[in-house]
Amino acid sequence: MTTAEVGVDELSLETKGTTGQKVVVALLLLIPMVVFALTPLYNSKGPELFGVTFFYWFLTFWLFVSAALFTGAALLLNKMEGGK
């Protein structure tokens, strides 16, 4: 296999879709990661939920949120990729 052939393969790895779609995907992926990294934002005791301090339930709650946002990103990426 020559370098040129692989080059063509690499091109086919390019993400299809409009710029708008790409921006939406980037946001859906980045928002949870940024929130998780902003530790001072959630490093507090209250408000509590079922006796659990904020730090713990906030992070757990964001697992659900990130699953939802990531699923949105995955659906959009699958649509952009095309095919069945």
Binding site: M1, T2, T3, E5, V6, D9, E10, L13, L29, L30, P32, M33, F36, A37, T39, P40, N43, S44, K45, E48, F50, G51, V52, T53, F55, Y56, L59, T60, W62, L63, F64, S66, A67, F70, T71, A73, A74, L75, L77, N78, E81, G83
Partner: protein
């Protein structure tokens, strides 16, 4: 507890273990392929759909790390080890970006491991060998952690059942379990792991939900546990259930470091490559943070234990490594204890099997085969099966020799090592401009920095005899940092600067993909 209680626990545990073993051996018939082919044995014929991929990758990730190591660490040190929750949230974002691309490249070029890609991209057999060996070494402490988890369950179950020789019986039981595991990994390969992963996860999920609902009720609410933890005097370092300022950076660096590390592990990539399409891969990955909820609840068991007065004596007797099994043992009927213990036990066994398969793959395909060209595909598959047995027993030996203060450190040391493969794997996915020498040098600089800081913190600064911390302490206000994160920053700097310099001096010296390997 009465002896009938303990016999009932044991009976349920053993019965379910027999079922587990039957499933493991029976799995070789499932979607049967040619078991003499490595892609078939190690990647289950690449036929895994979204639903099973979810369980398989879940089985990789939710292991004794989740059931034993994180709750134990939370119990001992407090809030800083809740980093595992943002870590799992973040890591699937990383995976959604990188893994479909690796999947496509692999399908196109018939890669079975990420190292196949490294060899192609950099056109360097030596760099590929280094990355393969790094993966193999980094998996060992991770497998050892699984064994610690299994041992924790057996310690309580057997310790309560017999009056003498509990330690010896526990060791023998562990070895028997490993022989059985080795036998079914040998015959069923990744299929065995996938099928048993479903059983394991169903048991674990049921257990976690029951415990997290009922135990707070028994102890008068979660608030009591937090109060008890705040007044307990065992957290001189991290400041109980809140993060102290000194540990903010420790928390963030552990989170980001672990999130970047996970999908560099050979076993995680193995799971990814076994899925049947990029669409299914994306969907199962996107939903994996839900799986992390189980992890978050289990981590909270480390707090809950403080309020669980019936479990505390057990934890004091058998050690904090038994936090989760002790809680279950103290508050539930024997049939449930046996059921839950089996879940935790196979929660260590199944991932150990997956990890050993990934190591074996790397050793035959990426370390031996490039130097011994006459290895046939049939021999390659055969060798891998034998190596998978060898690695399980190396890890088993590991835990009889190495004594960490707490089990999580094993995984975090593995993290320092595997993180240094990030430029060769993740960056190489996107760039053809990386220089192989710069990448190799970056790897070396990263390992020396990361492991050097680890040795410094444990053996030089504190004169310890075992690994008790993975943090390097900067002067305030920076505070603690995960050594692996410092290592990868040094590594990236060397790789990027080195590649730029090499590219400027000799443009032809940069990696040109695809000139080696399959003709």
């Amino acid at each position: 507890m009465s002896s009938t209680f303990n016999i009932e626990v044991f009976a349920v545990f053993v019965s379910l273990f027999v079922l587990f073993v039957a499933l493991g051996f029976g799995a070789s018939r499932w979607r049967r392929g040619d078991m003499n082919d490595l892609g078939d044995w190690a990647l289950a014929g690449r036929k895994i759909g979204s639903y099973l991929a979810w369980f398989l990758v879940g089985a990789d990730l939710y292991t004794a790390y989740t059931f034993i190591a994180i709750p134990e660490s939370l119990y001992i040190k407090g809030a800083v080890y809740f980093f595992a929750v943002p870590y799992v949230g973040m890591t699937f974002g990383v995976a959604l970006i990188t893994m479909p691309r690796l999947w496509k490249l692999s399908r196109k070029h018939n890669y079975v491991t990420a190292v196949d890609m490294v060899k192609d991209k950099f056109n360097s057999r030596s760099l590929a060998t280094i990355i393969a060996l790094t993966g193999i070494v980094a998996e060992l402490p991770y497998i050892a952690l699984q064994i610690y988890g299994m041992q924790a369950v057996l310690t309580i179950m057997i310790g309560q059942l017999v009056t003498s020789n509990a330690a010896t019986i526990t060791e023998v039981a562990l070895i028997i379990a490993f022989v059985i595991l080795a036998a079914f990994t040998f015959t069923s390969g990744l299929r065995g792991a996938v099928v048993t992963a479903v059983m394991k996860d169903v048991i674990i999920f049921a257990t976690v939900i029951v415990v997290i609902v009922l135990v707070p009720m028994y102890i008068g609410g979660f608030g009591n546990a937090f109060t008890a933890m705040a007044t307990a005097k065992s957290h001189p370092v991290t400041g109980s259930y809140q993060l102290s300022g000194l540990f903010l950076n420790g928390f963030i660096s552990l989170t980001i470091g672990s999130a970047l590390a996970l999908y560099l592990y050979p076993h995680a990539i193995n799971g990814v490559l076994s899925t049947s399409s990029t669409k299914k891969l994306r969907m199962s990955t996107a939903l994996l943070p839900i799986y992390g909820v189980g992890l978050a609840l289990l981590a909270l068991f480390g707090v809950l234990a403080y309020g669980a007065t019936k479990a505390l004596p057990l934890i004091h007797t058998y050690g904090p490594v038994t936090t989760v099994p002790a809680l279950i043992y103290a508050y539930f009927p024997p049939w449930f204890v046996g059921f839950a213990f089996l879940g935790i036990f196979i929660g260590g066994l199944v991932p150990a099997s997956i990890m050993a398969i990934a190591q074996a793959n790397l050793l035959t395909r990426n370390v031996l085969k490039p130097y011994f060209k006459n290895i046939t595909p049939k021999l390659e598959a055969r060798l891998s099966k034998y190596f998978s047995i060898m690695f399980k027993f190396i890890a088993l030996a590991f835990i009889f020799v190495v004594l960490p203060t707490y089990s999580l450190q094993l995984q975090l040391v593995g993290g320092i090592i595997i993180l240094q493969t990030l430029p060769s794997i993740f960056l190489a996915l996107y760039s053809n401009k990386l220089n192989k020498w710069a990448t190799g040098l970056g790897w070396l600089a990263g390992q020396i920095t990361g492991l050097g800081l680890l040795i410094d913190a444990n053996f030089i600064v504190s004169h310890g005899t075992s690994i008790t911390t993975v943090f390097f302490k900067f002067s305030t206000p920076l505070g603690f940092f995960y050594a692996g994160m410092i290592g990868i920053l040094v590594n990236l700097l060397v790789v990027l600067v080195g590649s730029m310099v090499a590219g400027a001096v000799r443009p032809n010296a940069v990696a040109s993909p695809g000139t080696s390997g399959r003709k």
